[in-house]
């Protein structure tokens, strides 16, 4: 992209700007580069200001025009996503998306990444990630009712990885537990591709009455800007830019960028904010998140088409001697910016005071469209809000697929398919011992999943379900994504993530309703990575269109690289669904001995991208599973119809680990009362791909014998193949799969030990203790 070097900027082209502040460094090409701005971008700033920026202004621009705030490389792509539907109340662009869920209720939901902070300090990085996403929710006027999270780490045989994994999980748990929001679900995957660059994506869902919606707008000229909540310290200065840089040995040493979370203050801020919004004393509210005061103030002004004037000297600070640059860019947590109706500032103070929090008037809404910052008398920054928030240059780049990926995808897998070497039972047990397929109970038992006493389905099944008090309705949610599929075929991989999420929701009896997404990728400056990014967005768009599910928001995390090596392209789908009748909620575990077990969908001979290949052949290769979007749609509808008819006793999606692992999960349930099973597979497919291949569009259901005909009929009506596989066995009985001449035959207890024991076995060694 970059041509030429910036003209040395001694004298501003025109106009008098703020005088340089004593002690501020001089603006040099090096300083500009350190702020992550290209010479062209710098020139744009000069053009927008019609003069050279001051140091403070440069910091403000560099934060707002960072990848994180400015979506430089992704905005043109994101325009491809479908965002409209009759039930969408608030699409992309606000703190969170909002959809109508009936009976006058709406939910606000969003997913957010904290990958880089978590790589540097797993506990605080993950904790503050949860804090940020919760604030995005309650600043919409919604009370958080659930969190989810999507995590990626390296392989657990690595001590550093175990440290990151333990720290992240504890950080997420300690923060969410203290605020008192139940965790409904999530996912964790382990692959060496994430060794030094873990992914930590946190999602939150909030409930509000449709009329309670409030936005992050600085409305009403003359209204007061108030900083509420925690004081401003030197935390994470330039975190927003930091989050858009690739990790290097250097950032490993960048200590001051760590932000410390205070979930107690967050809880007070949550209650105070909802009380504030209910009081009507404020017209707008926004989290001081990435790029802190700068982004919240300028974005609120931009949205309302107004200006703002702030006096940094009036911002409550934690440490003496902070510069305007530091105050404007600090990312101290648990802070909000609210716009109070002129004359009602004391009411705001009173409400915050009740919750033992501070509120200080730091400025006013103006009509001149300027983002103006004073330090007492003197102006230190004066920037037109529109170019600052909307003027960030965007780039459409050339993507090309890497030859290596093409080669890997073309890899012939027949040798592995054939190698059914004798004992499939021990293969299955060894596979369940893989952290990717083993139960994630070690993780979600550190999260409070039942606080608020509304959790109908807690983690462990296909999707979590939380009820809407006083109604028969519920909200279901899941997060899904498979970086290996996306690496081998970004477009299909992303579409599969959408399909799996929708399948997970349909399994519990929820109508898939809306999507938030997190795009975790490497550096878009690399054609191979840009190809992954653009293809993944296209795949997500195709699937969402096919299912008529709008995307109401999301987050982009680029430059997930270590020493030049990118992570797998990892789009994570957070999907919410509506349960019309809580009585009908369906779980994944077999319920009754003698129930019939049926498969909806078709088995394939697809080993590509499977955990089986990674585990036993150390290979990520082959064609990832094929995906038929129309068949997926019909499958979802068939499941919902069966759910309506109340004929299913269980339903469980086939995902990583294939049909065999889906059957195991249904048989072991939560481990308390595992049941045996006897199943026969007649397909003319070699046992290995038949049992462990990860073909899409398959769901294992169980029903009473007398209901089989109805299940078949409904499947047929929706054009979904339906095969009776066998029957649910005795409590603690044998788990049998007959596949041609070979098969699996083990005691279900042995499956329980492998499935629930794998991760604890790796994590509970004494040397794990971290200092948090």
């Amino acid at each position: 992209m970059s041509r030429g070097t910036p003209t040395p900027v001694a004298s501003p082209p025109s106009g008098r700007g703020p005088a340089p502040r004593p002690g501020d460094p001089e603006i040099t090409p090096e300083l500009v580069a350190e702020h992550g701005l290209t010479p062209e971008e710098y020139q744009r700033i000069v053009d927008a200001l019609r003069r050279a920026p001051t140091f403070t202004e440069l910091g403000v621009f560099s934060a707002m025009w960072s990848e994180h705030c400015g979506y430089k490389n992704s905005r043109p792509l994101l325009r491809l996503l479908p965002t409209h539907a009759p039930w969408v109340i608030q699409g992309p662009g606000e703190n969170a998306g909002v959809i109508d869920v009936g009976d006058g209720w709406a939910i606000a939901f969003k997913i957010e990444s904290h990958n880089h902070p978590s790589a540097v300090e797993p506990y605080q990085g993950a904790a503050t990630g949860v804090g940020g996403i919760l604030r995005d929710i309650f600043t919409m006027g919604a009370r958080p009712i659930a969190t989810l999270n999507s995590l990626r780490f390296g392989d657990l045989d690595d001590a550093r990885v175990r440290y990151l994994f333990a720290g992240v999980v504890k950080g997420i748990g300690d923060y969410g537990n203290c605020v008192g929001i139940p965790c409904l679900g999530g996912e964790v995957h382990f692959d060496r591709a994430y060794r030094d660059n873990p992914l930590v994506n946190a999602m939150a869902i909030g409930l509000l009455r449709t009329e309670e919606l409030i936005k992050g707008e600085a409305k009403g000229v003359g209204n007061a800007l108030m900083a509420v909540g925690a004081r401003t310290g030197r935390d994470g200065i330039h975190g927003a830019t930091f989050a858009s840089e690739e990790l290097s040995e250097e950032t490993e040493a960048s200590r001051p960028q760590v932000q410390v979370g205070d979930p107690f203050t967050e809880k007070l801020l949550l209650e105070a904010s909802l009380e504030l919004i209910a009081s009507g004393a404020i017209t707008g509210i926004q989290d001081m998140g990435a790029a802190g005061l700068t982004s919240s103030a300028s974005e609120m002004a931009g949205r309302a088409g107004n200006g703002v004037e702030i006096d940094v000297a009036r911002v409550p600070v934690r440490e003496p001697g902070m510069t305007p640059y530091e105050i404007l860019l600090s990312e101290s947590q648990e802070r909000m910016l609210v716009v109070a109706e002129r004359g009602r500032e004391d009411e705001v103070r009173r409400i915050l005071g009740k919750w033992e929090l501070e509120a200080a008037v730091i400025g006013r809404v103006t009509d001149d469209g300027m983002f103006r910052v004073r330090e007492e008398g003197t102006v230190v920054a004066e920037i037109p809000a529109v170019p600052l928030t909307g003027g960030c240059p965007t780039y459409e780049r050339e993507g090309t697929e890497s030859d290596e990926v093409r080669r890997l995808r073309a890899r012939d897998l027949s040798e592995f398919a054939a190698a059914a070497d004798g004992d499939l039972s021990s293969r299955l047990l060894a596979l369940l011992d893989s952290p990717n397929l083993a139960s994630k109970r070690w993780v979600y038992q550190q999260y409070d999943t039942t606080v608020r006493a509304n959790s109908m389905v807690s983690p462990g099944g296909d999707a979590g379900v939380v009820r809407i008090p006083g109604t028969h309705r519920g909200v279901a949610a899941t997060t899904d994504g498979n970086g290996r599929y996306c690496y081998l075929h970004p477009r299909r991989g992303a579409a599969i993530a959408v399909a799996e999420a929708a399948r997970n929701l349909a399994c519990v009896g929820a109508v898939p309703t809306a999507v938030t997404n997190n795009l975790n990728f490497g550096s878009p400056l690399k054609p191979a990575v840009y190809h992954q990014l653009s293809e993944a967005v296209l795949g997500m768009a195709e699937a969402c269109r096919a299912f008529e599910i709008p995307v109401t928001g999301g987050n982009v995390s680029l430059y997930n690289e270590t020493d030049g090596v990118a992570i797998y392209p990892t789009p994570v789908i957070g999907m919410v669904g509506v349960v019309e009748d809580l009585e009908r909620v369906c779980r994944h575990a077999f319920q009754h001995t003698g129930d019939r077990i049926l498969l909806l969908g078709t088995n394939g001979a697809e080993l590509g991208g499977s955990e089986y290949l990674y585990r036993f052949h150390d290979l990520v290769g082959g064609e990832p599973p094929q995906l038929d979007l129309q068949a997926e749609r019909r499958l979802q509808q068939a499941l919902l119809a069966m759910n309506q008819a109340g004929i299913l006793r269980s339903a469980h999606d086939c995902a990583e680990g294939g049909l065999a692992c889906a059957l195991v999960e249904a048989a072991v349930g939560d481990g308390a009362s595992p049941v045996g099973m006897d199943v026969t597979l007649a397909d003319a497919i070699p046992p290995v791909p038949l049992l462990f291949g990860e073909s899409q569009g398959r769901v294992v259901v169980s029903c009473p014998a007398e209901r089989v005909a109805e299940v078949r009929a409904l499947a047929e009506r929706h054009g979904i193949p339906c095969t009776e596989l066998g029957a649910v066995g005795e409590r603690g009985g044998r788990f049998r799969i007959r596949a041609g001449t070979s098969g699996v035959d083990v005691l279900v207890r042995d499956l329980v030990v492998a499935f629930f024991g794998a991760i604890p076995g790796l994590m509970d060694a004494p040397a794990q203790v971290t200092s948090t």
Binding site: C178, F264, Y444, M456, V769
Partner: protein
């Protein structure tokens, strides 16, 4: 008339609504008391709910005990008023000296949240009258500092006087290592004070009130209390 049960809300309480709802389900009359306020006049019983009062900073419950509301609660308890202290409430009650012993970090140093089995050790109290002795209950635990510790004499006293009301057990109802979620001495999950009017327990009966949520085993505690209050013809 039914009992007027006051749920005290501290900064950081997050089970106050759950307790309020549980009281309604048990046929009591719930109301809230904000920690800064006085006002237990007319209260028949008090509930100290779960959560993270003051973030559990310093020690769980250490800071909350100094609130105005707690001054009243302590006086109320000394007058013999029933106080139900759940989870963080239990920790506060210990810090306030309403109950003996203390709750330290779980043996694993990890927060634990799952369904836990309990055994009713004594059903001849106002808190447990609607259970059978030896009955096995299942209800959620969700805590990082639920490891009950006290010196020998205290433990012997509790055991000798039948003041251990609930014990952690495995699914089969036996006291085992695996059945003890946090390492509590004698697998203690819930106790009462000498006079029997203050009960503390770590598990969450307030989350085990509805079949739809997986268990109704917590109802007994709230129902026993409400029954007791109407029996003594609530003041």
């Amino acid at each position: 008339m039914s009992g007027r049960l006051v749920v005290v809300t501290f900064p950081g309480s997050n089970c106050d609504q759950d307790c309020y709802h549980a009281v309604e389900l048990a046929g009591g009359e719930p109301s809230y008391l904000w920690h800064r306020e006085h006002g237990l006049a007319g209260a028949d019983a008090v509930i100290l709910p779960g959560g993270f009062s003051y973030g559990d900073y310093l020690r769980a419950g250490a800071i909350a005990r100094f609130s105005h509301a707690m001054e009243d609660v302590i006086a109320f308890a000394r007058r013999g008023g029933p106080v139900l202290a759940i989870c963080n409430g239990f920790q506060i009650a210990c810090e306030a000296g309403l109950l003996p012993g203390t709750l330290i970090r779980n043996r694993t140093l990890r927060f634990h949240a799952f369904d836990q089995h309990l055994r009713v050790e004594n059903n001849e109290t106002l808190w447990t009258s609607s259970y059978e002795r030896g009955q096995i209950l299942r209800m959620p635990v969700a805590h990082g500092e639920g490891n009950y510790e006290a010196d020998r004499e205290t433990l012997d006293g509790l055991e000798g006087e039948g003041r251990v009301l609930f014990r952690y057990v495995d699914a089969a109802g036996r006291v085992t290592e695996e059945g003890n979620p946090n390492g509590s001495a004698n697998a203690i999950a819930g106790i009462v004070n000498q006079e029997g009017n203050v009960m503390g327990l770590m598990p969450h009966p307030d989350r085990a009130m509805e079949a739809a949520l997986g268990s109704v085993d917590g109802r007994g505690i709230f129902e026993s209390l409400v029954r007791h209050l109407s029996a003594v013809g609530a003041r």
